[in-house]
Symmetry: C2
């Protein structure tokens, strides 16, 4: 049976059966810090009650391109392809109506059909939104029509080839493979991609490439863009394909134009990535640094010295306190708990998660070097059970967001990066801007941050904020805080996004990011590859 995926909550994140609840302690912290919440129920009980404009009719040529069995126009399918999974998207889903949605969902079987669809759409002036897992948190799959009257969602779930070169340790993976599908197929060949973003369970390979995704283990395995060996782009104007060689000096890297192109230049049908042998050993631990600054210094020392473990993250004092209230001290047992308390008694510490994956000998060797850095930096060991507890909950964030939103909270995340020299400044500026914006809007909240992707020259910062929603003005409230945070990032010289990509939400900050000439160059590339301007209008480029 050919059909789009319908296995997730249409109004929220992931498995419909997963609806976590907060315990009393967590509820207490929440109430204390954000105030009393008013429930935020779904306005539509099921997709049938949802309000969305009727679809525009599409030309018969489009039906001929893929066959009628590959075009879907039901309200549910259109709704499932009408937004990503950012706070703004879910807030609108709760409202029960959307201004726009795709006129149809088109599901090509292969690259030939994909090419045929783009040809028809370019000729007819139909906007095309490439759709992988639909997990964008920055409006990357928002069905914006630009100057076009009609729009399709181009669902890539049919493109799921897997081809492994065990000798070169590379794999060519179809764009439509979800994270677990790719890992299962690779696992049968004894290899792994090692790419585990929080969206792993539902996000796709094509999306990882189109957005320069980073995963929780990217400090060790490398960001997705760093593991791409070669890539293809099917663009309205023609096909682009880079050679599969480990490196080349033949001019500007077209691979790096395709990666991160977010569907505005064309469609990535598959991508060849470097893989690694499946690690026989995985070991996750928790540590407590004396402060966020001390934890960041430990990470810097490792990144500039012996190297980083696969996973290393440091929560700031706020996030440490908050996340321990929600998820810990469960997970800490015996002596680890005592040590935790000991550290906590001294002052607000910074929780660190450290994970090693590899051959037993390699894990042991690299752990010894890492532990030396941790201890020299004043961190205290909290044990493996707390690390495993993090691992078991590593994909839980978006489920918890559904719960919090249902209770009436605004929950959003954003991320940036900077050099080590300016990371502290960036942290203070962005956390301060979010906190001030929330407070001045009358909804003070929790503002958490962690450092989760590190490099020799700097690191990323990932912020989470939670507050009461401003009832009836949820989107305005969000826009105010987002603008305050984004302006603080720009003023500090950080990047507007380290791994969530640009999508719709970061478009206003692209000129600050790449400059006027940079935008002109990107527009020239777009005009060349997509002269009719049908590809993902309103994203990436102002």
């Amino acid at each position: 049976m050919i059909e789009p995926r319908r296995d997730t909550k249409w109004w929220g994140w992931g498995d419909p059966a997963t609806l976590p609840e907060l315990d009393d302690e967590a509820l207490g912290v929440l109430r204390e810090r954000v105030g009393d919440l008013q429930p935020w129920p779904l306005s539509a009980a099921d997709p049938g009650e949802f309000v969305m404009a009727n679809p525009q009719p599409l030309p018969p040529k489009l039906t001929e391109a893929v066959g009628p069995e590959r075009i879907f126009t039901s309200l549910e399918d259109r709704l499932r392809h009408a937004s990503g999974r950012g706070y703004v998207d879910l807030a609108r889903m709760r409202g029960g109506k959307l201004e726009g949605g795709p006129d149809a969902v088109v599901l090509p079987a292969d690259v030939a059909q994909l090419r045929a669809v783009l040809d028809v759409c370019a000729e007819e002036g139909i906007a095309v939104v490439p759709f992988g897992g639909g997990t964008s948190v920055v409006g990357g799959v928002e069905p914006l029509r630009g100057p076009h009257a009609r729009l399709i969602s181009l669902d890539l779930a049919g493109l799921r080839t897997v081809e492994v070169d065990r000798r070169s340790l590379t794999a060519c993976l179809g764009a439509g493979l979800r994270g677990p599908e790719a890992e299962q197929a690779l696992g049968r060949e004894g290899v792994t991609l090692g790419h585990f973003p929080q969206s792993f369970e539902y996000a796709t390979i094509g999306g990882f490439a189109a957005t320069r995704s980073a995963g929780q283990a990217s400090s060790g395995y490398g960001r997705f863009d760093a593991v791409v060996s070669s890539v293809r782009l099917v663009a309205p104007k023609g096909d682009l394909e880079t050679l599969e060689t480990p490196h080349t000096a033949a001019g500007p890297a077209l691979r790096e134009l395709i990666v991160g192109s977010e569907g505005v230049l064309g469609v990535i049908p598959d991508v060849t990535v470097r893989v690694r042998p499946v690690p026989p050993q995985k070991r996750y631990e928790a540590w407590m640094a004396e402060s966020f600054e001390a934890g960041a210094e430990i990470v810097r020392g490792l990144a500039q010295g012996p190297g980083l473990p696969e996973i290393i993250r440091v929560s700031d004092e706020e996030e440490t306190e908050g996340s321990l209230a929600v998820s810990g001290p469960r997970g800490f047992t015996g002596k680890a708990f005592d040590r935790y308390l000991g550290v906590r008694k001294r002052r607000g510490g910074a929780l660190m998660i450290v994970g090693y994956e590899g051959e037993e000998e390699s894990v042991s060797r690299r752990r010894a070097l890492t532990v030396r850095g941790l201890r020299a930096g004043g961190a205290a060991y909290l044990g493996q059970s707390a690390g495993s507890s993090w691992e078991h909950g590593r994909y839980n964030g978006p489920y918890l967001r559904d719960t919090l939103m249902g209770m009436g909270a605004m929950v959003e995340t954003l991320e940036t990066s900077h050099t080590w020299t300016r990371l502290g400044e960036l942290h203070a500026a962005v956390a301060g801007a979010i906190r001030d914006s929330l407070a001045s809007g009358g909804t003070p909240g929790l503002v958490w941050c962690h450092l989760s992707h590190a490099y020799a020259d700097g690191a990323s910062l990932y912020f989470t904020f939670i507050s009461r929603r401003r009832e009836g003005a949820e989107l305005e409230q969000w826009a105010e805080v987002k603008r305050a945070a984004s302006e603080a990032i720009v003023a500090s010289g950080g990047t507007i996004t380290h791994h969530h990509a640009v999508g719709r939400d970061h478009v206003p900050y692209m000129e600050a990011e790449v400059g006027k000439t940079g935008l002109d160059v990107l527009r020239a590339v777009k005009n060349e590859l997509d002269p009719a301007g049908i590809m993902n209008p309103g994203k990436l480029l102002p």
Copy 2:
């Protein structure tokens, strides 16, 4: 005193006082393998005798842009900026005349003057060839005028700023810094770039960036493009600058459009790179693998497992035999020499150079892992003296080429890369094509290859060939062999260049490399940044 550099041989490589001679053993091998050579004297004894067209007059506005003291029109300065340092270039220098040369050498003092020069040239339609060290071996600084009547060589020697961020381990380096200048300035801050191509002594930072250079230690430190953190481009249309953050997901990577742009989009005035602490220990060793294939397998195992040392290279059997005849067994002493002989008695072995740089403990730890891989792969240890001997001679190749050319030889190198799966096929195809082309031209020769840059998914191959020159038809002879080798590379799916760049010589193979759509995209970018087409005509893009 402001003036262009005039400290190298005008007709050859580097220090005029360095003119190495071959000893009897090397001469014997050469005579046996390539036949008797007829001396190839310089036709012009000094620049004054060289024949080059008179320069076209340039507009006063150009003089105003930099001041008259920064414009040079002497025959010597024009000659020194009239070609790179490939075999073709040096063969033409020996001939004593050139068809073209720049009308003037312009030496801007800073980025403001650079901008002013580009503005004048764009307005007046004057072709601009950015000039760093002038060491291109692929015609990258060839003064081709395209549709323009006038051409200047834009010498970047005035741009030599150095700014180190010790905490983030980055450095912003001016384009005109030669390798040793950059290393000396960095060394004063306790850091190193670790970029040591064979052209290190004379090539510049801007050239490294513009050509995606690789150095002898790039397996450890990373290729130049891999250490670029951010970069600027001064283009006729405007300035482009990427943010200095360790990573971003804000769209296609403009940094990767600038790096490798070979002067056809604009001028790179400076580049921010990741640096490392100066290694307190350096250790170089020689090993003998049972065969080139066995040596390559050892490197693959290390690249895919515990990691690579800073330097690792494997010569194929031909290069091993030839280079030992020229430079060894001097350097091997005592037991190492016996081991060498023992290996050699079994069959033709493959010489490996392995180098470690870093903290003593790091060198020792990584050496232990590397040695385990070497021994498991059947390699025999030849000792440190042979490794040091390689290190002392690491920049000698181009000097030796002058000697060989003077004796009457054609000496050329070329390089490519491929996945581990297809590396053997590429090696056989390219070596065979060169050998056949030389033989069918009546000048059989030496064809050597080494693997010198390795990655988890593949490696580069570097070929050297030496034969009798075809007197009076040196350029045609070279073109035949180069074409044969290039076609073999393309047919095997390798890249036309792993680190020498495209320049003039590889332009015919760019469509095979990036496809028609890829060329269209690069041309669109060029048209956007350089609408008058003044930047480095005839390079990179067909």
